[in-house]
Every structure is written in C-alpha cells, then in structure tokens.
Amino acid sequence: MDGLFHVSSSPHVRSKDTSASIMFDVAIALVPATIFGIWRFGLYSALILLVAIGFAILSEYMFERLTGQKITIADGSALVTGLLLGLNLPATVPLWIPALGSAFAILFVKQFFGGLGQNFMNPALGARCFLLISFTGLMGNFNVDGVSGATPLAILKSGGNIDVAASFLGMTNGTIGEVSALALIIGGIYLLVRKVITWHIPVIYVCSFAIFEALFAGHGADPRFLLAEIFSGGLMLGAIFMATDYVSCPITKNGKIVYAVLLGVLTGILRTLGPSAEGVSYAIILCNIMVPLIERVTMPKAFGYEKNALQGRQKISMKLYKPAAALVGITAIAGLLLGVVYELTKGPIADAELKAKAAAYAAVCPQASEFEAAQELDEYTASITAADGSVADGQFGRVVYDGNYAGLDENGNVVGYVVNVTTKEGFGGEISISVGMDTEGKTTGLAFLTINETAGLGMNATKESFYTQYVDKQVEEFTLVKGAASADNEISAMSGASVTSQAVTNAVNAALYAVQGLSE
C-alpha cells in the first residue's frame, strides 16, 4: 500500500441523502401542482414562476458574491423558495411582483438572518405576506382570461356554495399553485414515500382546522362545507409544503404536533373571523415565530429518564391512559353541556326572532296586514343568483337574498313585498336589511335586522335621518353622493362611514332589482 490510510472518528458511513437531494425532492413534488397551474391559468403563469425562481437564485448569488461567502445556489433551496413564492401568486400579477417578492424572500427573510437554516420564518411566505400588505389590489386580482369568478373561499365566506369536486380537482380560481388539491396531495404522497416529510404536520394541521371550523364556523359538521374549506384556498399547499418547511418548523416530534394544532386553530380563526377569506399564510408565519417557544416546552425526555423507567412497559402505558381519558371525558362533558343548552334555548330564540321579523315586516310594509312567503319572488331571486352565490353578476357586491314575503291586505290581495337582503360588505361584517315595497317597486319602509357597524359612524345608518332617504321613492337604483342629495335617486352618504353607506345602498338596490325585475 502506497499512500496513507484515512483516519477519522466513527461512524465511517453516511446515508446518501444530502440537503440538496432533499430540496430537489421538494421541487419534484411541486411539479404536479406547477403543471396544473400553468395549464389552468395559461402560459403567463409559467413566466411568473420563472421570474420568481430566477430572481430567487439571482438574489442568493449576488448576496453571497458581494459578501464574499460560499455560493450555495446549487443546494436547491433558492429554487424551492422561488417556486413556492410563484405558486402563491395570482396568475395576473405584473412580472415585477415575483421579482420583488423573491428578492425580499431571499435577502430580507433568509440571508439577513444568516442564510440557509437560520431564517426564522418561511421565506416564500414572508415574501407573500409582504406583497399582500404592500400591493393588496394586485395580489387580490384573480380575473384571468378563461377563468372567471371569485375564489372558492371568497364565495364560501359570503355564504355561497361551491362544488367540492371542482375544488378538489382544481377547476376553480386562486393562486397558481393552490387550486388543485389533488395535484398537491400527489406531491405530498411523493414526499411521504421519499421520507422527506412525515404525515404529522399536514394531517394534524388539516384535522385541527376541520375541527375548529366544525365547532365555530357556524355550519356545524356539514361535510360539504368542511371539505370545501379544506380543499379550497392555500390550505393544501400550506399544510403539505409550507408548514413542513424544515427550517421554520419545530425539530422535536411533539413540537411538530403542537405546531400543527396551533396552525389549524389559527387558520380557522383567521378564515372565520378575519376580514380576508384566506388565513393560511399568516397562520404559518405566526406559528413560525412561536417555534422556539414550542421547542422549549416539547424537549423530549432522554431515554431512561421517564418515571418507572426500570419497571418495564406496562406501567408506562397505564400512565398515558389517564390524562388521555381525562381529556376525552372533559371534552365529552363540555360538548354535552353545550348541546343541552342549545336544545333548551333553541325554541325561545326562534320564537323571539320570528316576532321581531313580523314586527319589522309590518313596519316596512304598512299597507299590508298579513304576510306570507312570496313564492314567485323566491323563484325569481333564485334565478338571478348564480351557482357561486353571487347576485345579478355581482353588481351589488357580496349580497344574498334571505327570503321574500308578500304583504296581503284584508281581502288577501298582494299589496306589497318585503325583501330580506344581507350584504357581507359592512365595515363590521354582515348587515341584514328588510326592504318593504309596493307591487310597483316603490319603497315603503326599511328596517335593520342585523348590523354591527362602528358606533357613531356606520351605526348612524340606523338613524332616521339616514335611512328614511330610501323610503317612499320610486326609483330604479339609488346612487351614493357626497354632500346633499339633489334628486330622488341620490342618497347622501354618512360622513366617515362610506363603506357602510355603500353596503346599505347596494343591499337596497338588490331588493329593488328583485321586485322591479319580477313586475317587468
């Protein structure tokens, strides 16, 4: 033997996986979603992805070059960041958006914190949230040629129904990479098979989100609604590819479980209560920030330091049953109590609501003495409501019809209508209004059923000085003006509450549209 033998400390063998091979596995797993997105939204979306990837790699190269560090673009992590960011953009954005986003992701979120492995949040999501805040309009524009309509989550949020199967396959609207749950799941299975990720984060994330939605989103355990929420929007992309990002998720196994549960709850909160229909991106970056804390409280106990470690298997498993049983017990009792309270109060609440409504109808349609369901009008409003929940092509904003009633005189003749409309565009959430009209569509009265606007501003809508502007007018459509109204069809907007004024006006117009359309 010429030459010397290598001497080094054990072990002397290494697995074949490298950081780069893992990154390329992630990129491969994103291929189905990428191809689907390009097919769905057109070649321009491919251009967006290329710019995002290109600028991610370029930013990394430039930064490392300028700071005299080792060039690490070959490890594939910039590629994955760029691709993920691109997949999180709508297919309508101008090309400077992916360029700016990728540069932000690589420079501000990753390199400034020390490069690969040191970033405290997912770079692609950090950049997406930066873009969402800075360029809300551009980032919310989903009107691509050939793909029309609101995103499924927006439809769900405004109370509409969506086709779950279409959402699962991806025949809906959204960002380039998020639409097809199927393509994303195929990628997820590839990652599981390649052992790049474990099932824990995606599955627990989706489950805890579904449980939260079932409990608090107001639809109960309706599987159609839950599946629609799960397969729509960024949840699949987030759960499979973003939440599992190694660098920004906890390293401990229990930490991953806690993290996934938090993600589900936070996404639920943001989607249900937040102003936007989406919540995945913010949920993930917020949880990213909590990772050090999660790791701290979930440090595993070293082998052999458990209580009764010397005693063998049985006793340890007994120990685990107790808290688990206690948890299940507490949950069951709490659930039962909630159910009982609900059952007991259901009747009285419904009665009270009915009375309030009847009184409101009488107030807005004084010429009638009795009310009954207006079948013809119901059919008509249904005919102008699209499958996705939008009314009359969305010209009144996010408005839905909540039931129509015909007002009868003493002889049983129809003398007017009451149309209930709800707009989702109030400043503080939904506003429900009963609009009374005669058979020709002349307004006879108006009452608020639900309104939660800002006191002193939007809440002034309930004052006579504002809402009587709508009453006793025979017009086709009301128009909002600043300052005093000069014509019958003009409504003087409330100062400091233009959102509320517009929402109410749209809702009243929707009601007029229904009755006038019927009489034509």
């Binding site: 033997m1 010397l4 033998f5 290598h6 001497v7 080094s8 400390s9 054990s10 072990p11 002397h12 063998v13 290494r14 697995s15 996986d17 490298t18 950081s19 780069a20 091979s21 893992i22 690490t72 490890d75 992590s77 490069g115 690969l116 492995g117 040191q118 190694y246 660098v247 998720c249 390293i251 401990t252 196994k253 991953k256 440090m299 595993p300 106990k301 070293a302 082998f303 052999g304 330091y305 458990e306 470690a309 010397l310 005693q311 063998g312 298997r313 049985q314 340890i316």
Partner: protein, 441 residues
C-alpha cells in the same frame, strides 16, 4: 408477536453478504504476539512474567490490576521478548507484553480438561471466568466476572445474550451461532447457574433466520432459555436498546443493566465463558471477521489474541488496490487505523477495509433543521442542538441537553443530510466533560 425493538435507529447497507457464508477457519499467528496490558475497561493488568521468561500456551502472563480489571493469558508458547509500549488499534501506545512464538503451542497443565457443569458451585464458575480473563468481547471490554457479581444476584431476572450483531459487515457472531450453538447454550447455562431467578434470552436480529433456527435447536428443551428475534435495525445491539427491546425496561447512563435486573453479554463472551468453565480453556482466541470491499477474500476466523491485523489481512489475500480506510470493528462504531501493524485485542472483532471513505467524500453544509437526527437518536436526544452547543464548546448547554446520555452510536451522523460531524463533536464534548468530572473528584 410484534418483533422486539426500540425507537429510533437507522438502516445502513449491511454488507454482511461479503463474509456471511464463510465458515470459521482457524488462523495461526506468526512469530511475534503482542498483549497490551489494557484490553478492557478498568485498571491495566500487571505483568507476572518478565523478559526472557518461557511461557506456555494458556499461562497467565498478567494479573488483574484492581477490582475492575482482567487477567491476560498467553495464546501461544514461547519466550517473553520484552515488555514495552506498542501501538494499539486506538492509535495510542500501550504497555504490552511481547512474546516470541516457538510454534509448538505447548499447553500449560490441565488446559482443556473437561469439567462437569452440574457439579460446579457458583464460586467455582465465577473463579473460572475470572481466571480466564474474560471481558465483554462485543467491544466494551467490561470484565465479565465483575458483571456476573452484582450486589444482589437474586434481583437479576434476565440474562440477555446479545446476538444482534447490528453493526454492518460483521459476521463473526453470526458464524459462531451457526457453528457452535451448543457452546453458546452451554455458556448461558453456566451463567444461569449463578442466578436462581433469572431467565436466559438469546436475542438475535431477524435478518439471521438460520442463526435463530440453529440456536433454537440447540436450546430445545431448555426451560430457562428463550430465543427472541429482534427487528433488524442499527443499533439494536446497544446494551440499553437491547434491554428495552427484550424487557421494556429503560436504563440511562447513570444506571447499570443490573439495576434493571439484567445482565447482557455478547455471543462470543458467552461461548468463551463456556470454554473457561467446562473446558478449562482461558480466553486465548476470538472469532474475527476480515471483510469489506477492500479485502481480497473476506473470511471469518478463529484468531489467537495477540496476533497482528497485518497477518489476518495477509491470510485474506491482502488489501485491494485503492483501499482508503481500514477499521477495527464495524463502520458505525469501529476505529479507523493508520496501520495494520497492531495486535488483535480481546475486544477487536473485525478488520474492515473500505475502498471509499464516505466520511471524507461529502462536504459539510448548513444544517437545515430537518430533524432526522432527532428521529434516529435511540437515546431520544436532540443532536442538532447538542451540536450547536458543541460548536460553541458550551459544556453547560451540552449537559443540559442530556449530551452525556449519548453513547456515540453514530446514527445521527449517518442520517444527517448536511453531513455534520455530530458524533465526532459529541465525543469531544463528552471527553471534556468527563475530564472535568474527574478533576472535581
């Protein structure tokens, strides 16, 4: 039944097919044999011969130097050439007795005399083991007679024979279980005689079905002995994991197996015990695998303790051109050597020659926090954080992260995609912390 196992671990390429089907051949040594005085854990042995003394095969040449220490026996007959420091596998020079082999293998009186196990008392068995200089032949080298003398012998309810042989490439224990299962069972019976409440479990990984069958056959009819298949996974044969797999009990670094009612011994240790007790033959030989892609003709041998690695390599056709690394032991925990001119000690079970040094092949990259080290750690540690502490040489954090529970199995380093030298960092930290602790005493 679910296979007994532990949580964590890795599945490296096992490389066992190279030597697995090679029957054990007896290999005779050359002219010079080297017996380092430290071939075990504990105090070095003290020579009882001096330069130019004539020794016989089986004669004691050094005596246990303390309670935790072991005798050393000459494996050949000949003349003591010198007592001087010699290079050992660990890369350091250790004071050693050098014996010139006369080639006659003249035995001391009584060597090989058959004894009836049934008529022997507990004390006689213990004395035989102690005199024979038997230590843990799996690699740790803990003196066996000390292990067999726990404080409370009645509290021992398991004697576990470690037949896992989870290190890749190694096949010595496997061959021994196939070829001499009756000696294995005999040795276990001798040990069981010492512990009235104990049950013997021979634990074997399920990638060796013929070894399981062979031992099962030899143990047929033995009420106190059970053969237990284990899931094939590295490091299944690590003492703590093996105890957990067999009994569900968990010990940490501050405990001894006896605290969990267990005594764990390697296959060759148990066979050597049988030979010492029933055949009056002290520890002079061991079963040894010469293997790896760099060995011309991989083989399993019965070698004389004290002969050199170079002689074994030669008997196996030599090293192939391009061999970059030679290792005493397996690829996961074995020691890389700079030279073949070192003696086979009691705890050296293999010569592994590799053409490729994977450790040098990959470049270290940034940790991406993937958590594989956490998943594979059998001690349930967080190697990533321990390594961050080791890089800062932050002993306090290292201890707080239970770094001292690491037994350097190497699983994390094997699994790490960033190719961080985790185990290496931990070795250094552990040594530093242990040195500090000794200073405080």
């Amino acid at each position: 039944m679910k296979l007994a196992t532990f949580r964590g671990g890795v599945h490296p390429d096992d490389g066992k097919s190279l030597a697995k089907d090679c029957p054990i051949q007896v290999l005779l040594p050359g002219n010079e044999l080297v017996f380092p005085l430290s071939q075990h854990i504990g105090a070095p042995a003290v020579p009882v011969v001096k330069k130019k003394d004539t020794v016989l095969m089986g004669q004691r040449i050094a005596e246990a130097g303390g309670f935790v220490s072991a005798n050393i026996v000459s494996s050949v007959s000949g003349v003591v050439k010198n007592i001087e420091p010699r290079l050992t596998v660990s890369g350091v020079k250790v004071n050693s007795i050098i014996i010139e082999n006369d080639g006659n293998y003249t035995p001391v009186e009584g060597l090989g005399a058959k004894r009836d196990l049934d008529s022997m008392s507990k004390q006689e068995i213990l004395t035989a083991v102690k005199d024979a200089g038997i230590v843990g032949l799996g690699g740790a080298g803990f003196p066996t007679h000390v292990k067999l003398s726990p404080k409370d012998p009645d509290a021992i309810d398991y004697i576990i024979v470690n037949g896992a042989e989870c290190e890749p490439y190694l096949t010595a224990d496997y061959r021994l279980m196939i070829e001499q299962p009756e000696k294995l069972v005999g040795g276990l019976k001798a040990m069981l005689k010492l512990f009235d409440n104990a049950k013997g479990v021979i634990a074997i990984e399920n990638n060796k079905p013929d070894a399981i069958a062979s031992v099962q056959k030899a143990a047929a009819g033995e009420e106190r002995i059970e053969v237990r298949p284990l899931k094939t996974k590295y490091p299944q044969g690590a003492e703590r994991n093996l105890i957990f797999a067999v009994t569900g009990r968990k010990i940490n670094s501050t405990k001894l197996p006896a605290d969990a009612g267990c005594i764990v011994d390697n296959v060759d240790t148990v066979v050597s015990t049988y030979m010492a007790v029933a055949e009056s033959t002290p520890l002079m030989r061991r079963i040894f695998t010469a293997t790896g892609e760099g060995i011309e003709k991989p083989a399993n041998y019965e070698v004389k303790i004290g002969m050199s690695f170079a002689e074994i390599a030669e008997a196996s056709g030599g090293l192939k051109e391009g061999t970059t690394k030679i290792i005493a032991g397996g690829p996961m925990m074995g020691m890389a050597m700079s030279s073949l001119d070192v003696p086979v000690g009691k705890t050296n079970s293999a010569l592994l020659a590799l053409l490729k040094d994977e450790a040098a092949e990959y470049e270290e990259t940034a940790c991406i926090n993937c958590g594989r080290c956490v998943d594979v750690c059998p001690s349930r540690l967080v190697p990533k954080m321990m390594m961050d502490a080791a890089e800062r040489f932050d002993k306090e954090s290292f201890i707080a992260l239970n770094g001292m529970e690491c037994y350097e199995c190497g699983s994390c380093t094997y699994a790490c995609p960033a190719k961080r030298p985790l185990t290496q960092g931990f070795k250094q930290m552990r040594q530093a912390v242990m040195a500090d602790r000794r200073k405080k005493k």
